[in-house]
Amino acid sequence: MLKYIAKRFVMMLITLFIIITATFFLMRAIPGGPFSFDRVLPPRVEEALKTKYNLNKPVIEQYFDYLSGIIRFDFGPSYVYFGQTVNEMMADGWPASAKLAVAATILIILLGVPMGVISALNRNKPPDRITMMISTIGVVVPSFVLATFLLYFFSVKLEVLPTFGVDTWQGYILPAVCLAVGPVCGIARLSRSSMLDTLNQDYMRTAESKGLSRSRIIIVHGLRNSLIPVVTSLGMTFAALLTGTFVIEKIFAVPGLGRYFVQSITNRDYTAVMALTILTSVIMVVAVFLIDIIYMLIDPRIKLYDK
């Protein structure tokens, strides 16, 4: 078991290392440097700025400076918003994104799995057909396109929910729903097919032959086995959530990290882009690592591989 965890941990570190290095060198390699985007600066000013931000040192030195900064969780100053560090700006954006993420996750868990399980138990009957039709839409249409439609119907036409901003808690509803829709439908389909597979297994027949109550058969025997593949797919779900926040926060003007990321890109604020790329990657990789551990804990068969 420990070998499994250790292996995964090492892979995680290698991945992070690669992404940090790639990010760093790519950003440094952009022609024109970080200050020449909007305006042409007189050379002396540019020199002064470069010295201030240590851009005159050899690249390798800058690289190690940056690495040591990251370990201390210091992502450096923003090149666009002079005077502010990236850390400060991330701290500003952090709460809104977190609230959104939590809201979306709750939706996913409360809606996704039950939808799929109920569908599987009522195969080919109306609840199944309707649920599957809806989930097809959620899976096929990209989240920002769905966001557009939902925004139009609920905010413009019906005027039930606010269009932009999160001043009230209602402001979180639409973005959270748009963010969660894709993953909810994906999980619904997955748990449906997984449950159907499980229901066909011989051990389900054995359980029934023992005269157990229907609820016990479904929950203890059925769900336990059918949820295992769902857990392993949570990694992809998380990835979709993470990248979804970029667009959703932009559309709904949620003042979170996703919007900050998109703005940094538009403004060519390279330190911010780097920092947010690294942050996103770290979150992603750690999340997958944790999911792997959870998977290992819930599936007793994993221990087989270590024996």
């Binding site: 991945t15 992404i19 990010t23 390699a29 096929v140 557009t148 990248t243 538009t266 992603m284």
Partner: protein, 390 residues
Amino acid sequence: MNENHNEQFVKDWAPLQKEEKNAETTSGVTVSYWQDVLRRLRQNKLAIGSIFVIALILLASTIGPMLTGKAYETQQLSLRNMPPRIEIQTAKDGTNFFVHPDLRVFLAEDNGYVTEELDPVSANLADKQFIYEYNDTTYYLVFSADGTKLLDENLEPLPQSETVWNKNYLLGTDSIGRDMLTRLLYGGRISLLVAFIVTICTLVIGVLYGGISGYSGNNTDIFMMRVVEILMAIPSVIYIILLMVYFGQGVFNILIAMAITSWLAMAQLVRGQVLSLKEQEFILAAKCTGVSPIKIILRHLLPNSIGPIIVSATLSIPAAIATEAFMSYIGLGVKPPMPSWGILSNEGIGAIRSSPYQVLLPSIAISLTMFAFNFLGDGLRDALDPRLRK
């Protein structure tokens, strides 16, 4: 069936000949695998419908932009933000007016063709009015909380009003007066082009990488797959963002960036297929007769694993469209003024209250295309699944 003692019938004790016994042999035409696949695909109405829709979209994107008579980048600022369906109000003397949502008044011909803007003569902002003069008649444009009204000199609504299609811009114009229809069609061209080319790259790189990895086995395979695993730990969107920030916007750039990152899943798929086939006897037979490894990969392994590969490729087209739209949406894709559906969505979202069609049109286009390709991919997957063979 047994209790027919009372039934009177003659019992013929003559022995049965072999031919008579085997009267009931199983019949059934044996069909080849691919014929069966085609048959099942044809039965899937959703998939067939999708093929038609895709063909239509392809046709529209390819020749459409040339037929509209307008270029995607020409701006006509005075006619900006015109919706696809406009309400023409006709005055007593037959003059046609069109009231633009931006509170501007235009003259129009009878069939709905908008000609020119009419400037107000004066404004009476206290009463919330703009005053216009045309053909010796005074008109008042009154705006209030419940809408804008064009009234005649007696402050009454004009006698006739009719909602018609915008004749000179069939799908309206965007915020700087460019034709939505042309931009939509051209955008389709870009989105589909990117999607197809990226998918081809995915196929080529993924199949080669996965095929070689799976066939080589042992340490080469383990190493190659470790690389893929490590790369896959980060969502490819992040890589594409980084690359695009480095490259800068542009069709060619987004193509490269997407092609570099899209082949990972396909490589894994192909390698899995190759691994499972490698153990089968006909491969052993080919090896024994001295066929070279490349030939084995190309001639024996690939044709047998092509089913899931086709499905994956078909389903990666909508994924590519979505990714390109996503990148263009956040400003890292195609370079304006060149349109793509993502760019159109980005440009239109700000005006969702005043001119919703600007964002809804590309959204509908994306959705339709995504559905069509997905249903086709699903249909192919069902048709190619050997377990469903009857």
